[in-house]
């Protein structure tokens, strides 16, 4: 039974320890100093020179550094509420995410929980690097307690482990997409166990070029590319649709700026253009319109934009461009699957008005273009720190 499972971290643990781990009950206090210290140490390791080639590790490193430095800001502000850990938090991560699961794990960790994290069976270089750092820290005697309360494992989907873990978990964090989440959901849990799911979402960008100078437009183009280039899947937070308010001359200028920065390695990514062609032709088949390649990107301009067009969108640096005459008009294209709206050229007033107009379930984040991938403890509409802790009210 245990041959189907292996322990990724702490690497001194054996698969046979798992059941004992699941039934143990020790937790820490929320924001306990040793945890904060651990987070700081991990951030330093990730920001070390050898990790410069992994931009997502660098981003993670910066975020952890911010957490360690400013953790006081995350504390509960209401004096009559005491935060306590939930107990055991199980994190289920899908196969193609290198490092996103660390965000939810650190949130679980900060709130004093024990954590069991299932990582993907396919390991990538950046993930391997991440676990080297984590294992090095777990091996330090001062962090022994962190190693005792946290475990990262890998097992085949077909094994019984998801079911067993679900029986012990006080909370399940499920990273997407929809199918993976539903598969875990079907497994029974404790009656009071919490569920935090990050299912299929996509994001959009909106630019009002009428308010931007040429230089600013060029800068926005660069930032939009920054938001897109890291994850070729363009899932969750990277924009798949661009709502453009402005004239064609401005758009040509914007395209030229994009072309200057959006480079790709055509030898390493030989399938890119074909993937873009499939998406572009499928989208235009139904709607009419046009498409063009803009260096690494593919810009699709359908005559009309429908939600189901996103079904064939599979990332690969493809942007659907929709002309709008106001931010208000953008609202009618949005719905619950949209996670983030990044913007440039809109006023605070317009943003607030826009939030009021939003359909009830859509858009959990409105941030400037360039910040699409900046993880925050409030994510997908969840305040993760609150969701992964109990609030005991004392009167």
């Amino acid at each position: 039974m245990n041959e189907l499972l292996n322990v990724v971290a702490p690497n001194y643990r054996q698969p046979d320890d798992i059941v004992k781990f699941l039934s143990a009950t020790r937790t820490l206090k929320c924001f306990s100093p040793i945890v904060v210290k651990f987070v700081g140490s991990l951030s330093r390791k990730l920001l070390a020179p050898e990790n410069k080639v992994y931009p997502e590790l660098v981003a993670l490193g910066f975020w952890l550094r911010g957490i360690a430095r400013d953790e006081r800001k995350l504390h509960q502000s209401d004096a009559s509420i005491k935060s306590k850990p939930l107990g055991l938090v199980a994190h289920f991560t899908p196969k193609n995410v290198d490092t996103m699961f660390i965000y939810s794990w650190v949130c679980g960790l900060l709130m004093g929980n024990r954590n069991i994290v299932r990582v993907a069976t396919q390991i990538t270089k950046s993930q391997a690097q991440l676990f080297i750092a984590i294992n090095q820290l777990f091996a330090c005697s001062e962090f022994e307690i962190i190693g005792e309360l946290n475990i990262f494992i890998r097992y085949e989907k077909t094994s019984h482990w998801s079911k067993t873990i679900s029986e012990y978990a006080d909370a399940r964090v499920m990273w997407g997409g929809d199918d993976s989440v539903q598969a875990i959901r079907h497994l029974p849990t404790k009656p009071r166990a919490r569920e935090i799911s990050f299912a299929d979402r996509y994001s959009v960008a909106a630019i009002n070029s009428e308010r931007l100078t040429d230089d600013e437009t060029s800068q926005v183009a660069k930032q939009l590319w920054d938001d897109t280039k890291l994850f070729m899947q363009q899932a969750c937070s990277s924009p798949r649709v661009l709502f453009w308010q402005g004239n064609t001359t401005d758009f040509e200028h914007f395209k030229r700026s994009l072309a200057k920065v959006a480079e790709f390695d055509s030898v390493a990514q030989q399938q890119l253009r074909n993937e873009q062609l499939v998406c572009a032709q499928s989208t235009i088949a139904a709607n009419g319109g046009d498409y063009e390649f803009c260096n690494a990107l593919c810009l699709i301009k359908p005559n009309k934009h429908q939600l189901k067009d996103l079904d064939v969108h599979n990332g690969f640096y493809t942007l659907i461009v929709v002309n709008v005459s106001s931010l208000e008009e953008v609202a009618k294209y949005l719905h619950e699957k949209v996670q983030t709206l990044t913007y440039a050229g809109f006023t605070d007033q317009e943003k607030l008005q826009f939030v009021d107009d939003l359909p009830i379930n859509g858009v959990d984040r409105i941030v400037p273009i360039g910040q699409a991938l900046d993880f925050d403890t409030t994510w997908d509409g969840f305040n993760l720190l609150e969701s992964l802790s109990r609030h005991v009210s004392i009167k």
Binding site: P94, G176, F198, M232, V278, A285, F293
Partner: protein, 387 residues
């Protein structure tokens, strides 16, 4: 639609039929570049217009290049092309439901998604007609005794589509005394094979099988069991790709050598084709290269920007065929990689473009947190090529 418009549409189709007939009269591997370009371009330009009229999805996709529509494309590489995967994502048809004769469904071994190809009687007949013209260039005009390197059960299961069954059925037309060399557990039935060889001793024979089937279940067993069969008068036709043989480091040369050693077969012809363009197969010549027949052509495209690549440059294979009128499959960008070696100057004596298929377009390792359907969606599947 008024009668004026209707007759314009009939005229467009008739123009295509006339152009196709002209092409059909030409020698299959005897047309030089300038001649071929003129016949082929004429037929393909008419087909393009025909599909724009009858398939709104095709019209939408190609309308961006309207300016060239009036005069028609001047070179083959200017023709619009569809990504072959579109046939898995949507129904692309240029005939009404009442005219559908057959819907071909192709299914790969790993993917759940099937490509659906709509055939009317005309297209289906054209497919057969063309395949016969091409294969007769190596098989001659009479039906040959046929040894099929597969099990009879492969063609008997009608419940689900089977790429190998389709291939066998397509080639069966060229044979008689069809004999299945393998029994149901894929082991050679030596007695049956020997009886077949004895029956047809001294006469020309057709041997057909999928590339990996021939290698793994026939040749490999001959080697393992230190057996030999005398098929010295046979011609081996095979298809399906080399991917499964990659791990064993078997290339075309090794394959042919081993075939010759174990069966004495000297004439071996691979062919490259796909469910999305049945009929216009690309046949391997005596010098080992795949040739475009008169009815079809290839363009190799640079992966970086899909522009036409020069001779000798590896790129994505685009296939052109004058056969499909019931569905817009006349110009397709495949997900295979290949290289063009030249045109009209092949050492084998056949005219036309000659090329090699070098593998598949690499699959992307798509990074991000959604469920990746990348595994399913980027895996091309097809009728004749098998993985």
């Amino acid at each position: 639609m008024d009668t004026a418009e209707q007759s314009l549409q009939q005229a467009a189709y008739q123009d295509y039929l006339d152009a196709f007939e002209q092409l059909y009269q030409q020698p299959v591997f005897g047309l030089s570049a300038t001649q071929k370009q003129s016949y082929l371009l004429s037929a393909l330009n008419h087909l393009h217009r025909h599909h724009q009229i009858h398939c709104s999805a095709y019209a939408n996709i190609t309308q961006g290049n309207q300016k060239l529509s009036q005069i028609g494309r001047r070179t083959l590489s200017e023709l619009d092309f569809l990504a072959v995967r579109l046939f898995k994502l949507m129904q692309l048809s240029s005939v009404g439901p009442e005219d559908i004769f057959r819907t071909l469904q192709s299914s790969g071994t790993t993917s759940q998604v099937t490509a659906k190809i709509t055939l009317d009687k005309d297209t289906s007949q054209r497919q057969s007609k063309v395949l016969v013209s091409i294969m007769q260039q190596v098989l001659g005009k009479s039906r040959l005794p046929m040894l099929i390197i597969d099990a009879k059960s492969t063609v008997q299961d009608r419940t689900k589509f089977n790429a190998r069954a389709a291939g066998i059925q397509g080639l069966a037309f060229f044979g008689r005394d069809h004999t299945y060399a393998l029994n149901d557990d894929m082991q050679p039935d030596w007695d049956l094979i020997e009886a077949f060889c004895n029956r047809h001793k001294g006469s020309p024979i057709l041997v057909f099988g999928f590339t990996f089937m021939v290698w793994q279940y026939f040749i490999d067993n001959l080697v393992k069991q230190s057996k030999r069969v005398d098929l010295s008068t046979a011609i081996l036709i095979h298809s399906g790709g080399w991917k499964k043989l990659e791990s064993e480091k078997v290339d075309n040369q090794t394959f042919k050598q081993r075939v010759s050693e174990t069966t004495a077969i000297r004439r071996v012809h691979n062919f490259y084709g796909m469910a999305e363009q049945v009929g216009s197969v690309f046949l391997e010549c005596n010098s080992g290269y795949l040739h475009a027949p008169s009815f079809a052509d290839v363009v190799i495209r640079n992966p970086s920007d899909l522009s036409a690549a020069s001779v000798g440059t590896k790129g994505i294979i685009q296939v052109l065929s004058t056969i499909p009128s019931s569905y817009p499959g006349h110009s397709l960008l495949t997900e295979d990689m290949g290289v063009l070696h030249g045109e009209d100057d092949c050492s084998c004596g056949w005219k036309g473009k000659y090329f090699s298929v070098v593998g598949r377009l690499p699959k992307a390792e798509v990074r991000g947190c959604s469920d990746t359907h990348a595994d399913d969606v980027t895996q091309i599947s097809d009728g004749i090529r098998n993985e």
